[in-house]
């Protein structure tokens, strides 16, 4: 694989030559991890291609482009808040923007309860060293064989840092809008951290958007700790253009009696890879992971989940559903691991796919790895078409075939969207899905940009 070798060598050059810039604004903790991480990336063979965990993901064309990398925070010449208005009606959120992986310095950090820290990751790595050191790069180990996560650790410079101390409930959801904007093809490495103490509660809504029609590749990683008896909700709406690629790795570590709800909605993007890891490290955790993808053209959506039941009496649910049109490709690989001591585990997983055309394709690998006996685990996967029985039922009520088909797809997707707990957000996503299915949406409809591509 000559191409692959060249890509990997380019990374090596970039890493070597960018050392000074990479380290400049970051704390020791971040810089300490770089060398080992990059070494591992190379030792693993660089960009994963046709490896077991990237078996069906066509990573080569994604990486095989002449991307620029910005190793220094650049002040944007325009007011991004003006340029981009992502608005969910009836949903009050506190808004934070990132641009090309960098925390926008002009962000007005909302007033927060005492002790809450919201800032850029680079700042946190210097200013809140103690907390930072305790958590940074501590939860990525389940992905030690994933070169792309190592690559993020090697190159990450900035992102969003959120710390919620014990007994603090954040009433309003925090909305993080990740923007990509450039005048050349661009690669970015955003790194985020969300730490919840005990008895805390927070909700984060992440939206990904592109503001220019360049090719983007975001290789992002987020580490999340949900402390004892805390609850964290994570919503992610991925809506970029067809030339955008993203690798989104999320690592959650759950403590006793905590609850984590995640809902990842992939509306649009050229190549989307979600790596969703959850470690249920103490008793009584509940982890709910939902995902939905609507893909057409030549889009690729690749969801990879890994739920690690380490402690007894934890529950996990996973449900991923997708609709594939045109020549879209969707891959799902979900793994439930139940460790020997994790008795009384309940773990469920399902992946359902609708294939609409003869050029769309689905590969699904739901996996159970179970080493404890007193457990209830199941998984299921289906690939099929719209139920003709139901279609006929709708048509006998006077609903035309096209409309009936849309309704069926909407209903199919709504099973996932319905899991969103924030009512206004749920309505908004339903609306986006409806528009998306009707082909009226190639981007978030409030976005002022109209891509050429």
């Amino acid at each position: 694989m000559e191409r692959l070798e060249k890509i990997n060598n380019d990374f090596a050059t970039l890493f070597r030559e960018g050392q000074q810039l990479l380290r400049e604004d970051c704390g020791d903790v971040m810089n300490r991890c770089r060398e080992e991480a990059f070494g591992r990336f190379m030792a693993l063979g660089g960009v994963p291609y046709k490896t077991e965990d990237y078996l069906y993901a066509d990573t080569l064309p994604v990486f095989d482009r002449d991307y620029k990398v910005v190793l220094k925070h650049i002040k944007q010449g325009v007011d991004l808040n003006e340029l981009f208005k992502c608005h969910v009606p009836n949903l009050e959120t506190d808004l934070l923007l990132t641009i090309n992986g960098w925390f926008v310095r002009e962000n007005v950090v909302p007033e927060m309860p005492e002790g809450v820290i919201i800032c850029s990751l680079a700042e946190a790595s210097v200013k809140y060293k103690e907390i930072f050191e305790q958590h940074y790069n501590q939860y990525t180990h389940p992905a030690d064989t994933d070169g792309l996560v190592a690559l993020n650790t090697a190159f990450a410079q900035d992102g969003v840092f959120v710390y919620v101390p014990d007994n603090v409930v954040m009433e309003r959801p925090l909305q993080v809008v990740n923007l990509m904007r450039a005048n050349a093809d661009l690669m970015s490495f955003q790194r985020n951290m969300v730490i919840l103490g005990r008895n805390a509660k927070a909700t984060i809504l992440v939206c990904d958007h592109t503001l220019s029609d360049d090719a983007f590749l975001s290789n992002n990683a987020t580490e999340i700790v949900v402390g004892e008896n805390s609850a964290f909700e994570y919503y992610h709406v991925q809506n970029q253009h067809i030339e955008a690629s993203q690798i989104n790795s999320v690592f959650v570590s759950q403590k006793r009696d905590s609850r984590y709800d995640a809902n990842v909605i992939s509306l649009y993007g050229g190549f989307i890879r979600n790596n969703l890891f959850a470690a249920l490290t103490e008793e009584g955790c509940e982890c709910n992971l939902y995902g939905m993808y609507l893909s057409d053209k030549k889009q690729q959506v690749d969801n990879f989940t890994f739920i690690d039941h380490i402690a007894p009496r934890c529950t996990s649910n996973q449900h991923f559903k997708g609709v594939l049109d045109d020549a879209a490709l969707a891959n799902f690989a979900g793994r439930i691991v139940v460790r020997p001591d994790a008795q009384k585990t309940e773990a469920y997983q399902a992946n359902n796919n609708l294939l609409l055309t003869d050029t769309a394709q689905v590969n699904t690998k739901p996996q159970l790895v179970i080493d404890a006996d007193d457990v209830k685990c199941s998984h299921g996967a289906t690939v099929g078409q719209i139920d003709e029985e139901a279609m006929f039922y709708l048509r006998t009520r006077g609903i035309g075939e096209a409309e009936a088909r849309l309704m069926m797809m909407f209903g199919f997707a709504h099973e996932i969207v319905g899991r969103v707990k924030l009512e206004p957000l749920r309505a908004e996503i339903d609306d986006l899905v409806d528009k998306r299915l009707r082909g009226e949406l190639t981007k978030c409809h409030n976005c002022v940009m109209h891509c050429k591509k």
Partner: protein, 255 residues
């Protein structure tokens, strides 16, 4: 108005097997027809063919509805022309709420008739009125269509939809199956309340019990893909008493 539905020598088959072997039937506006018959006679096939189910192939015959050639129309247009089928087994559609489903159905039908969409505020009011008609729990409105409904709830939901869509011809396919006596009464009274001089009903059933509540004007016996007997409502009692065997014998000896 005479001759709402006219079926002439209708033959239909599935996977090459002929199920309907020449049905002749005429239903006038305002009439209630009962179609009875033993299992496997072709009762449900008839309802499926009339409403446009594609897995059945019509090999011969004609069906006219208000002067229109029904067999040329797709299922949705037949519905829009005013034919409603109450399914024997209503289909569950996860993720699609009942209210959203009905709104779409009503507006699509209105569009077909050249009417503007139902005003949103009045729509809900209308829905609520119709719900009372069949004593249906309003909470069902926001649940996914038929999903997790009990057998009785599903059948009530069918009649509720019929009330909302106001068809000219309602076909009730084994609507009594799986209903307890209370649900049966509610469903039947719903049908009776919807009765108007200009609409018609075909009740397809195996048993007498639904016909105690919905009294037919004409009773047909369907056997082996043909209507072998047509009479008044007194035939119902006779069938209940003697079963279908004597009819089968009559038919077979005639062959």
């Amino acid at each position: 108005m005479k001759g709402l539905l006219k079926i002439k020598n209708l033959h239909a088959s599935i996977d090459g097997k002929e199920i309907l072997k020449g049905i002749d039937l005429e239903v006038n506006a305002g009439e209630i027809h009962a179609i009875m018959g033993p299992n496997g006679a072709g009762k449900s096939t008839l309802s499926a063919v009339l409403t446009g189910r594609e897995c059945f192939e019509v090999t011969e015959g004609e069906v006219w509805f208000e002067g229109k050639n029904l067999l040329e129309l797709p299922a949705e247009d037949r519905a829009r022309e005013g034919i409603f089928l109450s399914f024997q087994y209503p289909v569950e559609i996860p993720g699609v709420s009942t209210v959203n489903f009905l709104k779409t159905a009503v507006n699509e039908q209105r569009k077909y008739r050249g009417l503007p969409p139902y005003p949103a505020s009045e729509f809900l009011k209308m829905i609520r009125e119709k719900m009372e008609l069949v004593s249906i729990d309003s909470r069902l409105l926001n649940r996914s269509l038929n999903e997790g409904f009990s057998g009785g709830e599903k059948k009530k939901n069918e009649i509720f939809q019929m009330a909302v869509l106001e068809p000219k011809l309602a076909i009730l396919d084994e609507t009594d199956s799986g209903l307890d006596i209370d649900a049966l009464r509610i469903v039947a009274s719903g049908v009776n309340k919807l009765k108007r001089p200009d609409n018609s009903t075909i009740v397809i059933t195996h048993y007498q019990r639904l016909l105690d509540y919905i009294v037919p004007d004409v009773v047909h016996v369907l056997y082996d893909g043909r209507i072998v007997k047509t009479a008044g409502k007194e035939l119902v009692a006779e069938l209940e008493k003697h079963g279908y065997d004597w009819i089968k014998e009559e038919v077979n000896s005639a062959k």
